[in-house]
Amino acid sequence: MENLTQLFIEAGTLMLVGMVFVYTFLGLLVLIINKFLAPLAKAYPDPVLQPKRKPSTTKTLSTEGVSPSVVAAISAAVSTYRQQNKKS
């Protein structure tokens, strides 16, 4: 049983040392992020990318939200027609 007691003591110490170490390690990491990384974010912000306007590929079924090309086409067609009508 002596041996087992010895093992228990070792395991208990290991538990204690281990948890303290893990907390210390990750706690230090919290500090590092707060002290060094977060300021970096302000010093080197991400470059503002002009959001490449991807031609929207969503298909809309309602009248609202029609794609710009369609609207442009219709405006052109309608105004052309209006002018033709005026002339006549």
Binding site: L4, L7, F8, E10, A11, G12, L14, M15, V17, G18, M19, F21, V22, Y23, F25, L26, G27, L28, L29, V30, I32, I33, N34, F36, L37, A38, L40, A41, A43, Y44, P45, D46
Partner: protein, 376 residues
């Protein structure tokens, strides 16, 4: 006649031993869990299959010259396969949620209580006749509480290779069972009001922070725990490849083909340790029991720590996200999100839980390093 006899003697039926039949059933159960129940199939499917192959009489898969023998010796006893998996996991990990709210690292620390308490428990099991765990064995078993497959396999291959099969089975099974194990514990330790807590939106994390972060983690590991640098180092290498943005083709390969190839081999190789003489004993039962304890204590540790932090924090912390500190990425984070939604249908905790979730990976890698340094 002689030939017919040779033929009969070359069938499996003439040579089956009881233990092999049982172990092939274990393999079949693993396949069932993987395919039907969708329990961590990426590893349990090849592992279950490997378990079956290993126990085929006469086939010699694990003898010198056998396929599984080569796989094990090349990739697992050297530690190479778990490290490559870890590199791939690093390349798949986004530390954004953690960097945005770094104090959740303490949740990842708290959940490692599952590991160290289990170490104590494993030693305690020595009072049972038939179980004799050394401190190395106990450490390898305890790492199940890290809820991280490659870490468990890596440590077990270094400290207790003869227990590797049981440890890997326990680790992956309980990881798959996280949605069943965790919620009752989470509900028992919190009240509804706590579970309803909504957290503030996370700030934007810049590219520079994400590139520096893996290097900072590596540097700290070098300073304070070199024994953890194989695991942490490969993880950080993968993450750096991802975030640097200059080696996208390497990062893509590490996240896909390389990790896939390695996973197939890792599963088969671990399965090769599921032989009757190594698995069918009371120690395996002990390991399975300890694994459940480990996950439960880890979960409780994370939740209680979150409750404590919520008392002192300026910004509110939902204690449920503490449970994600056990890692089991991303399952545990999803569980936190789900339990949170039950209490408050507008409360989306997923992103907040990803922080402690990846912190848990770091935490258990650090814990593995401590065990390697002090026991290995």
């Amino acid at each position: 006649m002689e030939l017919l006899n040779t033929l009969w003697l070359s069938t499996g039926l003439a040579h089956f031993e009881f233990g092999q039949v049982v172990m092939m059933s274990v393999g079949a159960i693993l396949l069932y869990l993987a395919i039907v129940r969708n329990f961590e199939p990426l590893l349990l499917l090849p592992m279950g299959f490997g378990a079956i192959l290993t126990n085929i009489p006469l086939a010699g898969f694990t003898e010198a010259g056998g396929l599984l023998h080569y796989i094990y010796e090349v990739g697992i006893s050297t530690g190479v396969f778990p490290l490559l998996i870890f590199m791939g996991v690093g390349a798949m990990t986004d530390f954004g949620a953690l960097i945005a709210n770094p104090k959740v690292l303490l949740l990842g620390a708290a959940a490692q209580l599952g590991i160290f308490a289990t170490l104590f428990g494993a030693i305690a099991l020595n009072v049972i006749p038939g179980i004799e765990f050394t401190l190395k064995d106990a450490s390898a078993i305890a790492i199940i509480g890290g809820a991280d497959g490659p870490t468990a396999i890596f440590l077990a291959s270094k400290l207790a290779p003869e227990l590797l099969g049981a440890i890997a089975v326990a680790a992956y099974s309980y990881m798959a069972l996280v949605p069943i194990i965790q919620p009752p514990i989470m509900r028992a330790l919190t009240n509804v009001d706590e579970r309803k807590i909504e957290m503030e939106q996370l700030r934007h994390v810049t590219k520079v922070e994400k590139v520096i972060f893996p290097l900072a983690v590596l540097l700290m590991t070098i300073f304070f725990l070199p024994a953890a640098t194989p695991l942490v180092g490969m993880f950080c290498l993968g993450n750096l490849m991802r975030e640097s943005g200059v080696v996208d083709r390497l990062s893509a390969t590490a996240q896909n083909e390389l990790i896939n190839i390695t996973t197939i081999f890792l599963g088969l190789g671990v399965g090769s340790k599921l032989s009757a003489e190594k698995f069918l004993n009371v120690e395996t039962l002990g390991i399975l029991a300890l694994g459940a304890v480990a996950f439960s204590i880890g979960t409780a540790g994370g939740v209680l720590m979150a409750k404590l932090m919520n008392k002192f924090s300026k910004t509110p912390i939902n204690p449920l996200i503490g449970a994600a500190g056990v890692s089991a990425v991303p399952m545990a984070a999803r569980v936190a999100n789900k339990v949170g939604l039950e209490a408050n249908p507008h409360n989306f905790l997923l992103m907040h839980a990803m922080g402690p979730n990846v912190a848990g990976v770091l935490g258990s890698a650090v814990a593995a390093g401590i065990l390697l340094a002090l026991v290995g």
